[in-house]
Amino acid sequence: MPKKVSNQKPKLTWVRFLRLLDKYGITALRYLLMTIGIFAASFPYLYMILQSLSPWREVNRRIVPSALTLRSYEWLLGGSSTTLARPWLRGFGNSLLVTGLSTTLMLLVAMLAGYALSRLRFRGRNVIYQVILFQMFYPAIILLVPTFLIVRHLGLYNSYAGMIIPKAVNLWAIFMYVSFFKSISPAMLEAARIDGASELQVLLRIAIPLSRAITAVIGLFLFMERWVELIWDLIVVQEYSMMTLNVMIATMSGPYASYPGPLYAASVILTVPIIIVFLIFSRYFTEGFKFVLK
């Protein structure tokens, strides 16, 4: 391919300057922007960690503390002369339990429904699909009060089930599985059927293994969203023994507001696990992601 600028007047220095800039400057700019961007994206995390390790009198007054201390973590996890320790580890376990079970249920229900709605022909299928689309756009907040009343009537109020069951179905996940299963070549499924496999076996042996990458991404999204859920968990559970970390931090107002260091420590405890989960699954991330975003 001929070079575009080659036969223009090379003597003018500003053109040469521009060409140099084009060659190296843009690259430098790209690296600069990338560094700034990554720094901006991670700054709040860095800030949070630094403040949680900061001496109490420097919290929010210095970005980089003059010395590092674990006092905030000790106060938070072990209590002090004036406080009882909050069940933080338990809160962590609660978050893990509630998020894990909810995510699993959401995935299971979505796989089954997604497969049926894309690969099985039955009457009412299209109606159900339309209803799902309607529900996706229907604001969840309008259902908040009555759902709370139903949960109370079912006896699920103030229980783990109260946090998990009303969050057992995710419409977006169903929607994603419908589109994914539609994209699987029907021949593969048909071959299994001819071999005498039941629909459940087809789903378990062929469709689900094929969906590994997409399941990782959908699961990751569901996990992350459930992990930071605030309003529902806040309303449905009142006892510290069952509270999720996120709610525990949100309810540490009043007297605790004067202990910002421990609050930062709590935020670190809240955020680190989700980042670890994310990094573990991130190798599936780019692969599955392209599909999720279609």
Binding site: Y47, I63, R123, P139, L143, L144, I249, T286
Partner: protein
């Protein structure tokens, strides 16, 4: 009838039963119940509930707090949308310009999406506190400390930026996958026509991003009506209701003043507002899409 295989049909229904049962209990019933609550004055615990007809709906129409909540999504949107679109398209183009490690870079920019609103709010609260290092630096330059959460404009800006920070990386991934599906021939053809970097970005890249832009717009606009955590933790809806969102108002009425029926009425208006506005955005986006030559 003959189109349906009996066994297949039974299996199909069996597979959607979990979803249907859930929808019945946690969508249909609350939906009907919520609509019924609208007509009552009730505090959730009293044995007495008083029928008030359309009273709640009418009262909400004259309520300053409700009107504030109706306006807030648009105020936040006016700052959030431009910011997030520039940032996320920028990030996508930037990541795309690197030949290697795209996955790793995408992961780095995706990190903010993982942050809990509660934790982010805590960080922001610290950063905007009067004696924070950031504020001391600013006051050295401009001579005073901006009242970040006390000034209506700045409070909306802070909340918009927090949300933009969280979502830019996520939306960037959507744009990135769209960028990578643009056929190279288009650029080559443009280059032959003598188009520069900027021209080809405006003439080719942007129009080709339309489908991604469409999804981002719908996602972003829908989210504007459901903001809760950031203002709940930072401003409580202030100053002077400048950041008083729909969810804050519904939460306040339902669980603070315990007016269940009134809260349901406001929720109904919220639903109407979302549907109406998303409808408008879809119309606009679609007609723009047709102008660009995209089919619906």
């Amino acid at each position: 009838m003959s189109n349906y295989n009996k066994r297949e049909e039974a299996t199909g229904w069996l597979f959607v039963i979990p979803y249907l049962a859930f929808t019945l209990i946690f969508f249909v019933v609350p939906f009907v119940w919520g609509v019924m609550l609208i007509f009552y004055k009730w505090n959730l615990i009293s044995p007495v509930r008083e029928f008030v007809g359309f009273g709640n709906l009418l009262e909400a129409l004259q309520d300053r707090r409700v009107w504030a909540a109706a306006v807030v999504p648009f105020k936040i949107m006016s700052m959030f949308l431009p910011t997030v679109l520039v940032l996320s398209i920028g990030i996508a183009v930037l990541i795309n310009s690197f030949k290697r490690m795209q996955g790793l870079l995408a992961v780095a920019f995706f990190l903010p999406y993982l942050a809990s609103g509660v934790a982010t709010a805590l960080v922001v609260k610290g950063i905007v506190s009067y004696t924070s290092p950031v504020n001391s630096a600013i006051s050295k330059v401009i001579g005073y400390v901006p009242d970040w959460l006390g000034n209506s404009f700045l409070a909306v800006l802070v909340i918009s930026l927090m949300i933009a920070w969280r979502f830019s990386g996520y939306y960037a991934l959507i744009f990135l996958s769209a960028l990578q599906s643009i056929p190279n021939e288009l650029y080559e053809a443009a280059q032959i026509d003598g188009a520069g970097r900027i021209t080809s970005f405006l003439r080719i890249t942007l129009p080709q991003l339309y489908p991604a832009l469409y999804s981002v717009m719908i996602l972003a606009v829908g989210m504007m009506f459901g903001i809760f955590t950031e203002p709940y933790m930072l401003t409580g809806g202030g100053p002077n209701l400048a950041t008083h969102t729909w969810y804050l108002e519904i939460y306040y009425q339902a669980f603070s003043t315990m007016r269940a029926g009134y809260a349901s009425s406001i929720a109904l208006y919220n639903a109407l507002a979302v549907f109406a506005f998303i409808g408008v955005v879809r119309k606009i986006m679609q007609s723009w899409g047709r102008a660009l030559g995209w089919e619906d």
